[in-house]
Amino acid sequence: MTRRALALLLATTGLALLLRVVWLSGQPLLPDDLAVGVTAHNFTRWGWPEPTMWNHPRLRDSLVALSEQAFGRGPWGLKIWSVAIGTLSVPATGLLVWELTGSGVAAVLASFLLAIDPLHLDFSRQAINDVQLAFFPVAALAAAWTYRRSRRCTCLAVAGLLFGLGLATKWSAAAQLLIALLAVMGDALRSKEPRERASELIFVAACLVVLPATVYLLTYLPWFQRGYELVDLLQFHGRMALETVTHTGYGNKLPGYLGEIVQPWRWFLAPVYYLEYALPRGSVGPDPGYIVGVANPLTWLLVWPACGLAAWTAALRRDEGLTWSVALFLVTYLPFAFATRPIWTNTALAVAPFALALVAWAAVQLAKRWRTSVLAWGCVAALLAAVLWPASMGFPSRVSDAVVRVLVPAEAWLPRQP
């Protein structure tokens, strides 16, 4: 990557951080935010993974318990990890795009699109950990691809560590781990010398199987303090898996999930959002109201055309990096798209880096012929994102509210029981 591209990536990261910390103390807390704090406490103290998402892995609890010790039980104690990891997902996406495509411009643009995306911003400012899936697997892939290029052992070990943290966030990180395994094992199997091949395969298995599993196991140490054994952990995971594949929501849902987006096939075909009501006046923050993260329609609705262009180009040019880029998007997205149970928009954060990477790459290709048009699109997309930011921060803004109410249907604003 050129120095200029690196500098721009750094600047984009700075912008991402600024957007994620500004007015964080004033932002009204959501019921989810408080529940995350309580769950962190319950799990680290008693090994009890409730009330938030008992069926998902538990890295968040240990992290939030640590930050609450450092910053107290306020917005910073609850959200610092989302802020930090959401910010870091921006350069991680850039590095991955650069490793895959070799294009510094596409890398910077992908980072920028992610940094300014209102849905990503919304979840980077919530205590819930969905935004972490936009970092751990992405950074792990970037490290794995760096290993493929440089053969530095440390890179693959770092990849394994990050994949472990990703799996300990949500199991969906297994999709990206599978892609990394395929790529790195493929390299190893190409070696003609048997001892070299065996040594490489063992190393890959240690880094991408044993290490992630170990990191994952360690996040369950607080659970073992309830007196459980390893065999109990397996049984518990059977229960978690059953809940995860049949999950239909925790709270009180309106019939038919009225006003909620629970079909992932819509993510890149129509404007999507995630709306939550803040806690009542007087609890925290200056104003009661809502926080709604609307995925930037001017980028998200271009994902499928970009994917088509990338797939076409990859086939024509036999471009390996581009093929992996398309594969990563499809392998991450399709399991959600074809899921038989409701999947909410918060899960789209796991797909966003790969989707926006394709949009960024396509924009760079198209800019070679239609520079002005692409530049105009970029400016309008950035402007729309900026208009949507206040709504994703819970910041009172008439302009943002008016635009949000155009993009979010009327039934979404029906009051739900907390």
Partner: protein, 240 residues
Amino acid sequence: MRPTSTDERRRVRFAWSSAIVLFAALALCASAVRGRTARVLAPAMGASGEPRWTAVRDSAEAVRAWQVAGVHGRKLVVLTGRWGHPAGSWEPQDEETGATSPPTLPLDAETGIFAATRLGIARDLLVFMNPEAVRQRTAEITERKGLRAGTGWVEAPYRGYERTFAIPDAATAPEEPVLLLVEPSYFTEDVPPPEWLASRGFRFDLGLVALEDPAATPLQRELARMFAARVGATPAGGAR
């Protein structure tokens, strides 16, 4: 610095692989040790090591008695004729910060067993009831995920937490000693007196007899008092 020769690369990879496998082995051991050492038994009564019997007012006071005894991470056997249905959830309170999850319920006879599970006193729950109570309980939870049922028993995990409801005839004793709580509503004509546990191989270090529960009749309360007297249960703070 990157290794240059093939042999050197192989040596570096071997070192990394060994270190990772060693790390994994240590993590496995740490997890196993953490779990095993978290199981705390009640101190035995006297030199004979006989199990201790205590009379408590209800399951809420049972939780306090378990906390005083310092027991933790145990299998809990409950002999009862009812199952609490609190309208909400009981969450642990941190004694330092008082932090809770809104809305929470007070610790009482309806929430006592939930409290014992959440606080890690009980890691596994075996509830023995009369056949009608088991049938009723099974009917209530028949739509639950992960339900497994056999003759006279139903395994009904609650959010991953293991719970079994069964009639005494379907009991299988675990290898380890258990905590025992006997509630008055257990005492009906179609179940044997609690002594059946010993004959089926159940061992326990701390037996609690609750003298009240919300579903118990005056006769059942009297039977519970008589049972407490028979086993020589010493009263805890609030038991009268």
